[in-house]
Symmetry: D2
Subunit: 388 residues, 4 copies
């Protein structure tokens, strides 16, 4: 791998996933863990090396990352001792706190309100200083899910209308859009790991193309949807019909709390549902997705899926999958790989939507209208791009 220093600026750096990213890289650098969980560890492509990655980012909570790591309980005692000094040096920049988009999380480390343009200036100034210390930089959005926005709002239809809305401090413009706008304006690639409406609006895609900045998203494909996009194409390949799919999720971390807000939840569930029908080529009539905040799980996440299958002679069968996973452990390495790939795209001069990164997302952004969701098809697409 190259010796290029890659800076990753994370929106929500102090969350469980952001902290795990930074901790993982620090542990790798010391040889205390191996590359298990990092899908592109064996790739031959000119991706930035893991050990050369550095972190910064914004967060509504002012805790440094050593304190954040203690709170999230993602590290063993030995791991914590080994890297707490390094983590303590990462202190979050003030973040945008807008209760209209996220009412459950209340943090104190807020950017002083001064209108959209002033906020963007501050974000850009954070990024510019960070970029100066790296060979390349990428922004990854890991903030808690915002209230579901309306992608069809005319405000978002073109860069011109969006910029007018910025000038007018329009309430339609969300924090996630402001971060994305600032990144693109600074020519820093942007990846959206959350389901929030962000770089996937026409205005920002137009902006990314104009600036030739790579963007990708959205909503990291970690646990249940990962399994779904593996199993559904397999059942289809065997011509087994899916009569019903009942999916339930319980999770107990800060993201879970954010989702206990009904509007944020609607955003997440909407994403999960459409994936299945698009993969199968028909609508599953009884498809139920439920996500619940359940504290005994802490950062662990549990999914229970029941799939009702119809086979030959019209006979029915059932497949049940119970995934006891750890959200941050699955998400952090994917977010790192997305950053490395966006950086590679930037080096190659490829701007705009990076649809070859679809394997990492529940709701892949595409240049055309029809996203591919089948995991192994996506995986092969990424492999070809890396080898190109």
């Amino acid at each position: 791998m190259s010796k290029r220093v890659l800076g990753i600026a994370v929106v929500g750096i102090g969350g469980a996933v952001g902290t795990t990213m930074a901790a993982g890289i620090a542990l790798l650098r010391r040889g205390l863990i191996d590359t298990t969980g990092l899908p592109l560890a064996g790739s031959e492509a000119a991706l930035a090396g893991y050990k050369e990655i550095v972190f910064a980012g914004w967060d509504l909570f002012p805790d440094d990352l050593a304190a954040a790591a203690e709170g999230h309980e993602v590290l063993t005692y030995k791991q914590h001792v080994a890297i707490s000094d390094e983590l303590a040096q990462i202190e979050p920049w003030p973040a945008i706190g807008d209760p209209r988009f996220l009412s459950v999380i209340e943090g104190s480390n807020k950017i002083a309100s001064g209108g959209h343009r002033a906020v963007i200036e501050q974000l850009r100034s954070n990024l510019a200083a960070f970029k100066a210390k790296c060979d390349g930089a990428v922004v990854i959005n890991l903030a808690s899910t915002e209230k579901l926005g309306d992608a069809a709002d005319p405000t978002f239809a073109s860069l011109a209308s969006f910029e007018s809305a910025l000038d007018a401090d329009s309430p339609a413009v969300s924090p996630a859009m402001l971060y994305a706008y600032a990144a693109i304006a600074e020519r820093v690639p942007y990846g959206n790991f959350t389901p929030s409406l962000s770089a996937d609006i026409p205005a920002l895609v137009e902006f990314a193309v104009k600036m030739n900045v790579p963007v990708a998203g959205k909503d990291g494909k970690t646990g249940q949807t990962f399994i779904k996009t593996v199993l559904a194409p397999a059942l289809r390949a065997r011509a087994l019909h899916i009569d019903g799919w009942y999916s339930t999720n319980i999770l107990g971390n800060r993201d879970g709390l954010a989702l206990s807000n009904e509007d944020s939840l609607a955003s997440k569930i909407h994403t999960k549902r459409s994936v299945l029908d698009e993969m199968l080529g028909y609508d599953v009539e009884d498809h139920i997705v439920d996500i619940r905040y359940y504290r005994p799980r802490g950062d662990d996440k549990e999914a229970w899926d029941n799939i009702d299958i119809r086979g030959f002679l019209g006979r029915t069968m059932q497949l049940k999958v119970n995934f006891l996973c750890k959200d941050s452990i699955l998400a952090a390495p994917l977010a790192i790989e997305i950053a490395r790939c966006l950086d590679l795209a930037a080096q190659r001069g490829d701007g705009g939507v990076q649809e070859q990164l679809g394997v990492f997302f529940k709701m892949p952004m595409t240049r055309s209208d029809t996203p591919e969701h089948a995991f192994f098809v996506q995986s092969a697409t990424l492999d070809r791009w890396l080898a190109s």
Copy 2:
């Protein structure tokens, strides 16, 4: 699809799978079921049409297929009424009953013992008469699993040594080999849906190549192994390490009873274990496979898999899969597709091992030494062959 009449001669026609095959085609012909469960229903290739398929076969039990269907309880009442007259016309030919290879099943419809050569003559005469009534014929082995044979036995090393063993009535030669030999001798393609040692010995591969007869096998990939070959490559693609895989199976039909014989069970478990390590590229240290005869299930089969996964930061997670499936419902359409593909290969003049059919088998026969087990890779291979 073509109007070509394809005859399928099944070893074990009266078993649950054989009966389901014949019943399914009869129901399709009457428009009483659709093609759900038949993976190649949408293929553009010149495969024989489902409605033109006819059946015959051998079985140790003399019941006609209407009686067999009643015993296996694979049909609804309405389905049974609609096709029992047609099924009643299929009466099994006498089969080879050799207690050295299968001691648990005791049937009365046996070929009179007269030595290997005499047995082969009788099988060939059954086939020759059947072929005469069809445009093409295929033999599919669906007999109960035999005691585990030794593939490295010098007897099986060449066609010459095998033929000497036939002449000498060697006890090393199993029933499954005799059926395969007879099929190849009659230039009838042969597919082995069971784990028994059969056309996968060097002697019979040599014979198939010499006669330019397509052969394929072995051990139909229906339930648990199907899911395994879907999930394991996905976990590998995410760089998640498998620390352990605990697989347990309960099944209650005649196959389950056969497996309660220890030697047959060893054959089946051996197959299941090797698949996983080959797909992952490393040995799973704690890989346990257990198969049990459990009568409350009847023809249903249940698999419970627990997978212990290690991810980023060395953290462990668990994935559990519970598959409540119906053995015959999953197996029958695959056996039909294998027959159609073997027939297509014969039409195309392709003899010898048909490794493009690996997607249908737990233990795919290959021309080289390294079988591919990953489901989606196999699936793509078959698609290319069909389109060629």
Copy 3:
């Protein structure tokens, strides 16, 4: 058992449970099934014999019970053939159809509206005619769950206020209350197998005591709650603390459809939640109950429970229970036993709330304020009453 003829008049006789009750007794009478599933089959008490039970009842759908049984698919073909003549003779009386209490179910077999008093007269006249043909009669409510009523409504506080409300055709009075009132007025014991507000209001308890008519309820304890009231006391006896309990239910029959109405669902979930805390003696902080209408299940019902347990040294463990059950198969025999017990109480001259029947209910009616939910305690209480 006695030769006494017991008539059971079911509210919702044409539903899956009502049909299963009638079919089960008809099959028992012919010796085609045994008493599996009937908890009191071995009791020595002077309960009415199963074979002497006869059925009648009200339903919004006019189908006779043979037609209903065909729709519900609760019988095998052989069972259907054996008893369809007998079932066909049971034709539902017109039922109360009030969209304010149950908007999803739309049936045509309605009592002509004429005010509460007129409706009661018609119900009483149905009952009086039925009683005349039996040695004893009981009314069991199996109608779809109504919208959650307010038990604390002053209308329900006394018999006097309730009767005024009847005179005034008050919209607060629900169909379930009218059936209960009619039964008590006819001195026919009444059991409420549903969660609807009915005989458990002070007014009707007062009426039952005054008329010395036995009443019991409510909400039959069949699947998930049955298991909950078995496991929770066991965990408590081992001093294992329950940090969280996540319960999810999927069901696909007409009751499921009724529950897809939000108000009816609230009624059901409320019942399920309180049970656990009362049994444990502390509030489970994360207790989630979810019930969903899911058509692939048909009359089957599936529950998945995840229990987070804390033990010695503060260590956590998990217990997961997956119950694939059949609603009507579990409910029907309990409803029969409730009817037999209410009839026995009536014979013994015991009127008012029959709290010894708590083992059959999710929300047992009691004379005092603190219902016992622990299954084995309830079971012992019933045994003592039967033996008394």
Copy 4:
């Protein structure tokens, strides 16, 4: 609770359960954990107080308990720091190492071989010295399961024949019997938490009665069997017939390794199977129990049970239970409670078999021939004894 100092001498003190017992009491003494998991914490009876318990014991491994705790990973870092000094003071006495009874475990801390009588003398001398420091002492067997012995061996039929066998150094006499003999000889109550043949032979029961020493056993009822003895009586109470019960267990600690020895496994499975039939009153025809050593679990234990149930109308249903538990966390508090109860029995002057302790055992020793297995019946029996 009383201020009486209770000494518990554990056979296998350095194992995961023994270490957890000692660690738990040390943590309780410091107020660092509460009594969660200790079933008799709320009892009014004159049991020894938890904080006054002290530990000693034998082990084939010489490590002190602080070292043992590190190996077993049963403590959090904070818990370990808090009590390691105290645990370090507990150093195991040399134990009996007899490869004929337990071949997998190979430890160095062995009693020098000198014949049965010499071994007994050494055990008694350990106990005598320990007793002198306490108000009362109890021996609890937590050693790895021995090879299945033959309870009907005439050697064990009477105290006289057993003592002759001791004199003759008979190979039939197992280590577990020698510990039990030594305890009884020292008038120290003895509890057997393992399935090994020990105080449950007629010779040692006779000895316990003669010396008026309380004894109890055997095989602690912790995970799967606990759940089984809760669920089976509940299913019986609902008259649901059990067609089959498939139980599988995976565990990864030293006990799991011992069970990978086939003879030890047979001992354990035999115990588990008989329990179910005795509770139900009929033989479950398809009852399969499987126990596997599976290292990814460590000290955790996982059980998966599938129960096939037949209900009304002959319809079948399934109940599946997946218990992810921690062996030592469940076992240690039970072993502590057994010791406290045996000490109470000794104070009350009750010698011989203590059958009121059956709630703690898979295979309860009884004075008569028919053990009660139903959990809630056992629980009520213990409550009555404690209150007496």
